[in-house]
Point group: C2
Amino acid sequence: MQIILLSGGSGQRLWPLSNEVRSKQFLKIFSEAGGESMLQRVLNQIRRTCAESTVTIATAKKQVTLLKKYLGEDFDLATEPCRRNTFPAIALAAAYLNDVKGVDVNEPVIVCPVDPYVDDNFFAQFHTLAAQITDSAPLVLMGIEPTYPSEKYGYIIPCTKDNVSRVKMFKEKPNLADAQKFIDAGGLWNGGVFAFKLGYVLNKAQELLGTSSHDELTATYDALPNISFDYAVVEHEPNIAVVRYVGAWKDIGTWNTLTEVLESNSIGEVQTDKTCANLHVINNGDVPIICMGLKDAVVVAGTDGILVSDKVASSYIKPFVERLDKQVRFAEKSWGSFKIIDADKHSLTVKVTLNRGSRMRYHSHERRDEVWTLISGAGIVILNDRAKFVRAGDVIKIPAGCKHTVIADEPLKIIEVQLGEDITVEDKIIWQEAI
Amino acid sequence: MQIILLSGGSGQRLWPLSNEVRSKQFLKIFSEAGGESMLQRVLNQIRRTCAESTVTIATAKKQVTLLKKYLGEDFDLATEPCRRNTFPAIALAAAYLNDVKGVDVNEPVIVCPVDPYVDDNFFAQFHTLAAQITDSAPLVLMGIEPTYPSEKYGYIIPCTKDNVSRVKMFKEKPNLADAQKFIDAGGLWNGGVFAFKLGYVLNKAQELLGTSSHDELTATYDALPNISFDYAVVEHEPNIAVVRYVGAWKDIGTWNTLTEVLESNSIGEVQTDKTCANLHVINNGDVPIICMGLKDAVVVAGTDGILVSDKVASSYIKPFVERLDKQVRFAEKSWGSFKIIDADKHSLTVKVTLNRGSRMRYHSHERRDEVWTLISGAGIVILNDRAKFVRAGDVIKIPAGCKHTVIADEPLKIIEVQLGEDITVEDKIIWQEAI
């Protein structure tokens, strides 16, 4: 059995903690001590319940570095050259399994989003889904038994209330009255899990995208239609089965739902008064937060911004985040992290942290000088192919055009002042490593 | 007529924008474009209504630099060596007027807090207060005609409902029912304005503090009793008159009251959704704020922290602020400003801004090195008595023990990295200027 985890979301709904490169699946907020991320949690659950299956993570190119950092090289990655909707992403991952990994077209494939917050039993059901794939029902879905008449989810109406049933119809996010009717009729929430044999989706790719070749899909990816798997495939498939899942299920893609599964009501330096109720405060910033008299609210502060919202309203954040300047102020890299601590007209000051043993890529800039002040650790700086030992307190001047890198012998921290009239992330030339 | 403006408050109730050195009276939030501060507004009103009077500002030593920066040298300052309550502050200011300025003991004095938000007519009434001071009523107060039965203010119950009346009694912050009763009985809010002849308070100082000498009061200031003028004087004075003021009056000492007089519901980079109501957002920080679904709330973000509060609850912020680490992350100085942009174990990174023509004091540190990277402007750096021209892009290393200063020929910005195991504001030795 092959499992494809869809990890390509932009995570705008969890702004300001997630952004284009630091997507929601990496947020480590499931314990006070910065414990498990969403992705780690899901992978551990799959390991326990589907030990014999192979996991492939379908992800955007921008997130590959971070995925490798968190997960090592143990997982296959089907890398999307740019962000597209779920149909192109699933087609590409399927083509990757067939062309690159040599997976047989008859092998069952389960596609699952990376952000369900569920019991292990949810993943154990993957075996049932795989077993239900037949010629007369080539597509099998996971239906989640509803706990309340939610207006937020799509509904699957099965023909029977059995554990496995044919699907009668689908209903997109209904109003409250309709949601109750669907539940009375045995309706299930659509959990976004799809099961099929690999060949099924390769055929759909051939039919709808003109090819099922991994190379061709990759080469033309940015021109592929931006449509969802539901819209392109599910809605047109007359023969679908659904497997019923009874147990805890939350999509933790919004602050409203994510806060429901947090162990603590506050993370970071936070004070709240006694009149606060149903309040979650996540302080990932540098300054203290005081909250008073807030009810049913979420407050999140990070390097990119501050969100203060009624919990229900927080689900509708996306258009507000889209309006923001997209400068990434904090990012984790394979070698460590960087954080913009000051932006001025002709300068940018960045705190750079390197892990022990790591190095930046050897590079130069054309339109900016840099001044590095090492504030802790020790290592080797290479400037125009000449190496030099450095330690805390040392200052390194890097004029425009100078090739440079640093290798951290110990965890290393640098205050980097960039100086120039035109400071952009694009101004970077990568060179062959000198040593 | 002498006017003493009490400007010594710590402004904790307006955290995070005010702090020990950047007190509330300097907040420039009365127009979008960073316009008038509270203090400037009040001084302009006094200039219009009491042109012939002399204004003395009673203030804490910590705030003198900032006061001079904002007001120039046009005003007399009665400087309190440390923070004390209103009785010692008024006694010291009175002694200053008599001993230092030679003001006659028979001259009328009006004491007024610096934070009433009122019509010009409020200050015009000072003439009436001064005229009412007699031997049979040596103390005259300003009574504000209440607009609603507030539980936040003290009440003055006059003998009659005339414009000027004797005071029958005082009532501290009552409950709602009592407040209504007081209003029905002609009660007035106590606005904290006191009028008397200079000799009256000098006598009280002699009687209660053992001296009315400015030098002696200054020398023993930290040992003086920390009591209010109301408690020490007003409550024991049987013969008090009150002048009735009818017109707009707000004490803008809390976010709840201050937001009532702001022209705009948001300042700085802020987005709010359509479901927000009676919301004020003041973003004085570096990152955007998104607010959704908030009602009757105030959100304030600054360099020192973030406040998110129900408006009414925000009045009770003081104990929460007192619990915070008191490190000042941003401060305005006579020569410019500084802002801490990163704090690490053995380093502190500060953005320093110098005004054109200004200079730091010539100083050295014993237990830290500094690295300055000039990011804009030009000037002269002096290191151990040797001067050197510097401009944007230059890097200056200042080892521990090295005497240093900078003189800004143009507005100058520096990223200063402090390095050491024991970085404190106390580690500073001031030297005689070299040039």
